[in-house]
């Protein structure tokens, strides 16, 4: 049977992959997706802790994961809308070229 450690290792690996994506990708949309990856890793942690925790019938892990998924969905919608607005302004989604703060 797999232990809590395996799930935590997996989720930390996913988190690192997401972090690497956020730090090194140039495309703003993929950076946003990297943030989603990190949120997913956190959700996996919540579910794993709920399952292996002392009091699974309290459902707190599940609730936190559900709310987290909802927040992530809202964040994705707003984030992509911001990227679209930025693209309309600067005609690029390349973060290295979005280097001007002038309105």
């Amino acid at each position: 049977m797999s232990s809590l450690q395996d799930y935590l290792l997996l989720s930390s690996l996913l988190f690192s992959i997401g972090l690497a994506g956020v730090l090194i990708r140039r495309n703003a949309i993929l950076v946003l997706i990297g943030i989603e990856l990190m949120l997913n890793a956190a959700n996996l942690n919540f579910i794993a802790f709920w399952r292996f925790g002392p009091n699974p019938s309290a459902l707190t892990g599940i609730m936190f994961a559900l709310f987290s998924i909802s927040v992530a969905a809202a964040e994705a919608a707003v984030g992509l809308a911001i990227i679209l607005a930025a693209y309309r302004h600067s005609k690029t989604t390349d973060l290295d070229r979005m280097n001007s703060l002038k309105g």
Binding site: L14, A20, I24, R26, R51, L66, A77
Partner: protein, 166 residues
């Protein structure tokens, strides 16, 4: 470590890594859905059926499609010959690798995490609904408010100005 966990973990990591590593943005999103589905399968394996199915519905059905739409709408017509990664990619790589190293060390050194799986708790949708309606009702309302605000905000931001449309 069971075989099913190994397969799912490999699938998830491969999908997520491909999502962050591939050149073509659309391929990235398609790989990402594999990763999301893998995470959903892990939730199902852990007995969180409702969360797993919500994960598929929200991430595969909505977020991935949204990302794909955003990519299509911001697609530059000429083929991009620039590198897919930022100029300071090695800095980012080092940071991510060190974060993973620290986390892995912390997890590995804690003996409390090596305990086996406790018996499967019986979680019905009914219980989740009860909890949402009684214990977590304030959070639920705040979430509804947040989602409404996000919906309106996203529409307003993405809509742009009337003059720009013409």
């Amino acid at each position: 470590m069971t075989a099913s966990f190994m397969i799912l973990a490999l699938l998830t990591v491969a999908g997520m890594a491909a999502a962050m590593g591939l050149r073509n943005a659309v391929h990235c999103v398609l790989a990402l859905t594999v990763g999301f589905a893998g995470v959903a399968a892990l939730y199902l394996q852990l007995g969180a059926q409702f969360v797993g199915l919500t994960q598929i519905m929200v991430y595969v059905g909505a977020v991935a499609i949204l990302a794909v739409f955003a990519i299509m709408m911001t697609h530059s017509p000429e083929p991009v010959k620039q590198p897919a990664f930022s100029s300071q990619w090695f800095v980012g790589g080092i940071v991510a690798a060190s974060v993973f190293a620290v986390l892995a060390w912390a997890i590995h050194s804690n003996a409390a995490f090596t305990q086996g799986l406790p018996p499967q708790p019986e979680v019905t949708v009914h219980q989740i609904g009860d909890a949402l309606m009684h214990h977590f009702v304030l959070q639920l309302e705040i979430m509804g408010l947040l989602l409404t605000a996000a919906l309106i905000g996203a529409v307003v931001i993405a809509m742009g100005h009337e003059e720009e449309m013409k």
